[in-house]
């Protein structure tokens, strides 16, 4: 039995502790926001936070979560129903295309800004290089991180007529 927290709620799972956290969360907890991309920690689509630090959940066994706290894409918005600054910036910069990698991108960006609220371009590169976006939205991701950090102004697109 592995005991840990997911998005602030206590969880107990009776599964092989070698199972990657990704599959435990997707299949047992039925939280499907986190995605499977490569299975070998090469693409970052499965990024979650383990005690606040980004991990590749496809290659991190459940045993590592014992007694710890996991945060997924479903758990980063404030409880008042609004969106986090990173999520808001992802919308204002119209970042996602297919969107499949974006949970992982947002989790990596969120972790970066938590430890480094005003990152440089180099620091953004280094924090985000583990996350592949096959739609190639790197320019928009970089811009959105800077908007969320308050380094740059939003280029807000229109909504209403």
């Amino acid at each position: 039995m592995t005991k840990f927290q997911v998005n602030g709620k206590p969880v107990e799972l009776d599964m092989d502790p070698a199972t990657p956290i990704l599959w435990a969360v997707r299949e047992q907890l039925e939280m499907t926001g986190t995605k499977f991309g490569c299975g070998i920690a090469q693409c970052g689509a499965c990024t979650m936070h383990l005690d606040g630090k980004p991990i590749r959940s496809c290659s991190t066994p459940l045993s590592q979560a014992e007694g710890k706290s996991i945060t997924t894409i479903e758990g980063i918005a404030p409880e008042d129903g609004t969106l986090s600054k990173v999520q808001q910036a992802w919308i204002s910069e119209q970042v996602p295309q297919c969107g499949y990698c974006q949970s992982g991108q947002i989790m990596s960006a969120t972790a970066l800004l938590k430890t480094n609220p005003k990152p440089s371009d180099e620091q953004i590169n280094s924090a985000m290089a583990g996350n592949v976006c096959r739609c190639g939205m790197y320019g928009r991701i970089r811009k959105a991180i800077k908007v969320a950090a308050g380094i740059e102004e939003s280029s807000t697109q229109e909504t209403a007529a």
Binding site: M15, D16, T19, P20, W23, E27, M31, T32, G33, T34, K35, F36, G37, C38, G39, I40, Q42, C43, A45, T72, I73, E74, L83, Q87, W90, I91, Q94, V95, P96, Q97, C98, G99, Y100, C101, Q102, S103, I106, I124, N125, S126, M128, A129, G130, N131, V132, C133, R134, C135, G136, M137, Y138, G139, R140, I141, R142, Q157, E158, T159, A160, A161
Partner: protein, 749 residues
């Protein structure tokens, strides 16, 4: 031999595209108005029979709009969302023609049902209480059903959604719906229709001060006469078209709620999971299988030898994959067991040798290429080579299937829901109509999800086991069993006259040219042209890869034009300007990109600029790449992109597609190849099929020219083809090294 040959009919005059729209409308449950439009390009026809017998290459467009009692307007779109954002833009076009409130416009995937465009559609997903009959266009009942069956009509590809369904379907549906609402209000208020104005989903009559939401007249509108040719807005009247409205699909993609194929599941049913491994060589089959270890592994439920693949079904996906990894298989021999990439390219070379200077299948022939080449002041020759490429969508191929009681349910992401439905039916051994498709976002398509092979697999496994099964390809499976962009070799000879003008162009290549225009250079003013292809055999399954043939020919043609410019001693932009003397839109785009990039201005030592221009999917795109060669491996620092897609319906969406196409094109140009050893693909995952990442992606600037408001071009693909040649040309400018074979990384190892 017959002497009489049929004289080819003169080409139909270009210009106005004729079309005929068939409009139908009805009342759905709760008084909702449903309006459908089917459009057939070509000459008007007067009977259903002619339509059903319509020739190939004609496009049938079906669009639907629903106005609910809550005044919410729903665009029912026969395209899938794979990142291109077209569904949102199509809805924007509909909303503009309707004068709808954009805040209350929703987008819905059309159901994958061959009848969705028929009267049945209303019954199926909108209208239990539907009453058709006398309000219908006389041909309407059969027409929509027949059209949908004929067209198999639910394909997302060819950068076509906005310029076909949007431009010629949704806009008409929107305009028709508005005219019917206005007519209904005019009757109710007893005022002239011309005095009624529409805005933000409201009808108003200024003189009497009346104002009501669209929904109020939805039911009455359905009884109005159907407009035969609803009046569309001119570009000056656009309110939403041409503006960077936010995409409707993005909010769900930032909080984990977006539903992709891999997330699909039947409600309240425990899923089982399947991992699969196909025979490594195309055409080979499993000869023997040793699954002794797998049988005893935790969670394993069934191990299946399906002939062309092995599957393990388990309680969890990871368990299934672990068990699969332990299975030892041997395979039947095939004809290509000994084939490797070098041998294949040697075969391509032989075919091109045989075609020579005038053999093979002619794709274009103008003037006297061989004679003029003979007398040329200077000749240029080059051979280029590109590899097979995988799509590498972020979401690996996957499909959830449940087969029971002669029925099959499918949850998957596909670019072709109706073909996927047939693929599932085949796998499940049921009829097409027994399959229910549950739509989802696609975690990338790029042409890969035009091939529903994974759907058939899932249906077969589900049928064999009886479980609802979620079948997921590992990344390794996805990389090694794609439908690949074809490898190709292309040879060129060019002749320059004494002024350095390109007067002859002779090209022969192996690929089959999809679309047919992809190797052609008709916009360049070259008087003598021969373009041919030589037939070869490919040892892998081929598929449409973002921009299809343009991905190869863009690199070939624009590299060779660059070589010709240097041979002529001319600046590559200046050289192209001369060639584009008769193509003003192309010239504007070329000049636009050159200006953005500051073409001609000085760059630091070891840096260089290259330009390329490609017209694809009716859009013209020029790109200037800047490269830094000072660190060994080329580093693309900037890309300046100028695009003329006729009219940008959503400029931010068009820009995003350019940015995306550029990165996709540069990724392949720099890093990627699928190679064969002993008949099988050698690459497996992102460590050996590399992706561009944040730290090697260039800064990209996009400028849009609206050069032809009524002649729309595509967006999803046209940004890609110029990227590779612009980079290769930049590398030459910076270093004098000419790249004639992709990927570029090979030359800097």
């Amino acid at each position: 031999m017959n002497d009489t040959v049929e004289v080819e009919k003169p080409a139909k005059k270009k210009g106005k595209w004729t079309r005929r729209a068939f409009i139908g409308a009805g009342v759905a449950a709760g008084g909702a108005l449903v309006v459908g439009v089917a459009v057939r390009p070509g000459n008007p026809v007067d009977s259903l029979k002619d339509i059903v017998a319509g020739g190939q290459g004609e496009e049938l467009i079906n669009s639907w709009v629903k106005i609910g009692a809550d005044n919410v307007i729903t665009a029912i779109v026969p395209h899938c969302e794979m990142g291109q954002g077209a569904n949102s833009t199509i809805a924007q076009m509909l909303a503009d023609e309707m004068d709808a409130d954009w805040e209350k416009v929703r987008v819905m995937d059309a159901p994958a049902d061959g009848n969705y465009v028929s009267k049945d559609a209303l019954r199926v997903f909108a209208a239990p209480g539907f009453k058709g009959g006398e309000t219908m266009e006389p041909t309407y009942d059969g027409l929509f059903t027949q059209i949908s069956k004929l067209a198999g009509g639910y394909v997302t590809g060819g950068s076509s959604s906005v310029r076909s369904t949007g431009q010629n379907g949704m806009r008409i549906a929107g305009a028709a719906a508005k005219e019917m609402l206005v007519a209904a209000a005019a009757a109710e208020w007893s005022v002239p229709a011309a005095e009624i104005t529409t805005d933000k989903s409201m009808l108003a009559h200024a003189k009497s001060g009346k104002s009501e939401p669209f929904a109020k007249f939805a039911a009455a509108a359905a009884t109005q006469e159907l407009p035969r040719a609803p009046k569309l807005k001119t570009s000056k009247e656009y309110k939403l078209m041409g503006r960077p409205m936010q995409r409707t699909d993005i909010p769900a993609k930032v909080n984990g709620t977006a539903n992709f194929g891999i997330d699909g599941a039947p409600e309240g049913q425990a899923l089982k999971y399947a991992a699969v491994k196909a025979a490594p060589i195309v055409g080979s089959r499993v000869k023997s299988m040793d699954a002794a270890t797998a049988k005893g592994m935790p969670g394993v439920l069934q191990i299946l030898n399906m002939g062309d693949f092995v599957a393990v079904v388990a309680d969890g996906y990871w368990q299934a994959q672990q068990a699969l990894n332990s299975i030892k298989t041997s395979y039947e021999k095939t004809d290509i067991d000994a084939l490797n990439s070098n041998k294949m390219f040697a075969n391509f070379g032989k075919a091109l040798d045989e075609a020579g200077d005038d053999g093979g299948d002619s794709k274009a022939s103008e003037g006297d290429v061989l004679g003029v080449m003979e007398g040329a002041a200077k000749k240029v020759e080059a051979e280029y080579r590109v590899p097979f490429l995988a799509h590498a969508t972020m979401e690996p191929m996957n499909c959830t299937a449940w087969v029971r009681d002669g029925k099959c349910d499918i949850w998957t992401g596909t670019q072709v829901p109706l073909w996927a439905r047939s693929a599932a039916a085949e796998g499940a051994g049921v009829g097409d109509d027994d399959v229910t498709m549950h739509s989802a976002f696609l975690g990338g398509g790029f042409g890969r999800r035009l091939e529903p092979d994974y759907v058939t697999q899932a249906a077969r496994v589900a049928k064999a086991t009886g479980y609802p099964v979620k079948l997921i390809w590992s990344r390794e499976e996805d990389t090694a069993h794609d439908h690949y962009r074809p490898a190709d070799i292309s040879r060129f000879k060019g002749g320059l006259d004494k002024e350095g003008k390109l007067t002859s162009w002779n090209n022969v290549h192996c690929s089959t040219d999809e679309p047919a225009e992809s190797p052609l250079v008709e916009f360049y003013d070259i008087p003598n042209v021969s373009v041919r292809n030589a037939e070869v055999e490919w040892p892998l399954k081929l598929g449409a890869w973002r921009s299809v043939g343009h991905s190869q020919h863009g690199f070939f043609v624009e590299s060779f034009v660059d070589e010709a410019a240097h041979a002529a001693g001319k600046d590559p932009v200046e050289f192209r300007r001369e060639l584009l003397a008769k193509s003003p839109r192309h010239l504007n785009v070329l000049n636009g990109a050159a200006k953005m990039a500051g073409w001609g201005s000085e760059l630091p030592e070891g840096h260089g600029r290259g330009i390329a221009l490609v017209r694809s999917f009716n859009s013209i795109v020029a790109e200037v790449a800047e490269v830094d060669m000072t660190k060994g491996m080329p580093r693309v620092t900037k890309v300046f992109c100028c695009v003329d897609a006729g009219f940008a319906m959503n400029p931010d969406g068009l820009s995003a597609q350019m940015e995306s196409g550029i990165v996709y094109g540069l990724t392949a140009a720099l890093y990627d190849e699928i190679t064969l050893k002993d008949g099988a693909v050698q690459q497996s995952n992102f460590h050996d099929y590399r992706m561009m990442r944040m730290d090697d992606a260039p800064d990209i600037a996009v400028q849009i020219i609206n050069g032809a408001p009524d002649n729309l071009g595509g967006a999803g693909e046209p940004g890609l083809p110029p990227a590779a040649p612009a980079l290769a040309n930049a590398i030459f400018a910076a270093s004098g090294k000419r790249i004639r074979e992709l990927p570029i990384a090979k030359h800097f190892a």
